[in-house]
Amino acid sequence: MAGMEQPPDEVLDLLIKELTEGLTPEERLVLVAGAQQANEAYRRDLEHTAAALSVAAASGDPEPLPAPLRERLEREAQAYFASLAATRSVRSVRRGPAGGWWAAAACLLLALFGWIRSPQTVLPPPEPTPALQRAALLARADTLKLPLGATKDPEATGVTGDIVWDSTAQRGYLRLVGMRRNDPTTQQYQMWIFDGDRDTRYPVDGGVFDVPADGRELVIPIHNVIPVHSLKAFAVTVEKAGGVVVSTRDHVVVLGQVT
């Protein structure tokens, strides 16, 4: 590591930006695309340096953790461990006796792998967000981008977005801006993909999703259960919680069509 090559200035600038203000999906894509093994090691070094500085700055800071916040942390920890215990008990019932051996072997492999690979305190790189994955897909030559428009439905006023779809990989992302928040206990949004090879009465279900807050940009992976051979159109409807098998199409909020 001592002889580690310093990345070019433009990569270094991105690494520093990642440490100070974070990267946009596009910048992260540039970093990932241009990254070599050396850059990743350099990135870890810089992160380690920044963390050491933060620890140093904190050591001269006399302000303790506020008592009410501390109480909240303890309450949340209790809730977290309770939910964890519940999950474990369900899993232990579901898993056969051999399951524990597989889990232990997997943990051992991970531990060994981590031990061999990590010379210092290392966190795995953040998982790519759907926005980043969408950007990566968009960069591929054979990816289709289909603009979406709002219908006349009052729920859809001002909504814009697009679909990015790779037919070969059967993978795609829905991007929406301006959607209204839904109550997931009663209603959910559902994606529909119209395939040129299928009866238009039965579009392919692309999965349900929620909008947690009004207006924000969302990027949602499409989970089509049936292969789509020839994307012709795309729609988003409002359905009951959990989605439906066949939509009545009473409440279509977003539409897009390949022309």
């Binding site: 590591m1 001592a2 310093q6 200035d9 270094l12 600038d13 520093i16 930006k17 990642e18 440490l19 100070t20 203000e21 974070g22 990267l23 946009t24 070094d45 810089l46 992160e47 380690h48 340096t49 920044a50 963390a51 050491a52 500085l53 933060s54 620890v55 140093a56 700055a57 904190a58 050591s59 001269g60 800071d61 006399p62 302000e63 303790p64 953790l65 506020p66 916040l69 501390r70 909240r72 942390l73 303890e74 949340e76 920890a77 209790q78 977290y80 461990f81 964890l84 215990a85 531990a111 981590g114 031990w115 990590s118 010379p119 210092q120 305190t121 290392v122 966190l123 795995p124 953040p126």
Partner: protein, 216 residues
């Protein structure tokens, strides 16, 4: 440069001596015999939660206060960070570094992520409202230095303007554009100062795969 080179010699000895002389390193020695607080949490020992908050609550709170736009933001961030810690406690490996560094890295990642998501909101507090960082005396006893002390010492080796942009960017969470406006410097100069300052810090802090500091 002279001071840096002299310190680098001390740095070579730092990791070896730390395990004998540094109180923090005594914890390391104890950790090798008994599980660390994060390892206890990972194994489901809920009593370790309080110990973890006792030991690292002030650290996380300090980092969060500086890298958040408001106190309420900082409180929310601290909750998210500790939840991250409970979930990722099993990933901590005492042989790879200190708990404090592991926790600081998790905290910083979460806080930078939050800053990026709120980057469309109004900018951070004006510079005069930023809390002054009380750096401890870098000291001279290099054999007993912790990573944080080493970082403080390295920071004091930088040019004042390099140190200032790194403090504003890395510790107060100001974007490079914000730093440019506040210091009246062209954006390119801010980038260059950060780049060179961080390279210098990194060289100073660099540790090879065996955990022994490298001469620069």
């Amino acid at each position: 440069m002279k001071g840096l080179a002299k310190s680098a010699v001390g740095r070579l000895q730092w990791v070896r001596f730390e395990s004998i002389q540094d109180p923090g390193a005594n914890k390391l020695t104890r950790r090798s015999m008994s599980p660390s607080v994060l390892q206890r949490i990972a194994s489901g020992d809920q009593s370790a939660v309080r110990v973890c908050i006792d030991d690292y609550g002030a650290l996380v709170w300090s980092i969060a206060r500086r890298l958040s736009r408001t106190s309420a933001d900082a409180e929310d961030a601290v909750q998210e960070i500790f939840l991250d810690l409970w979930k990722s406690a099993a990933r901590f490996d005492a042989s790879q570094g200190s708990e404090k560094m592991f926790i600081a890295m998790i905290a910083r990642r979460r806080l930078i992520d939050r800053l990026r998501k709120t980057s469309a909101e109004p900018p951070m507090a004006p510079i005069e409202e930023l809390e002054t960082i009380a750096w401890s005396d870098p000291g001279t006893a290099s054999q007993t230095a912790s990573e944080a002390e080493l970082a403080t010492r390295a920071l004091h080796e930088l040019r004042p303007e390099q140190r200032e942009v790194l403090e504003l960017g890395l510790l107060h969470g100001l974007s490079q554009s914000e730093i440019s406006v506040r210091l009246g410097l062209p954006l390119g100069s801010v980038k260059s100062l950060m780049r060179r300052g961080l390279i210098k810090l990194r060289e100073y802090m660099n540790v090879d795969a065996q955990g022994v500091a490298v001469r620069s």
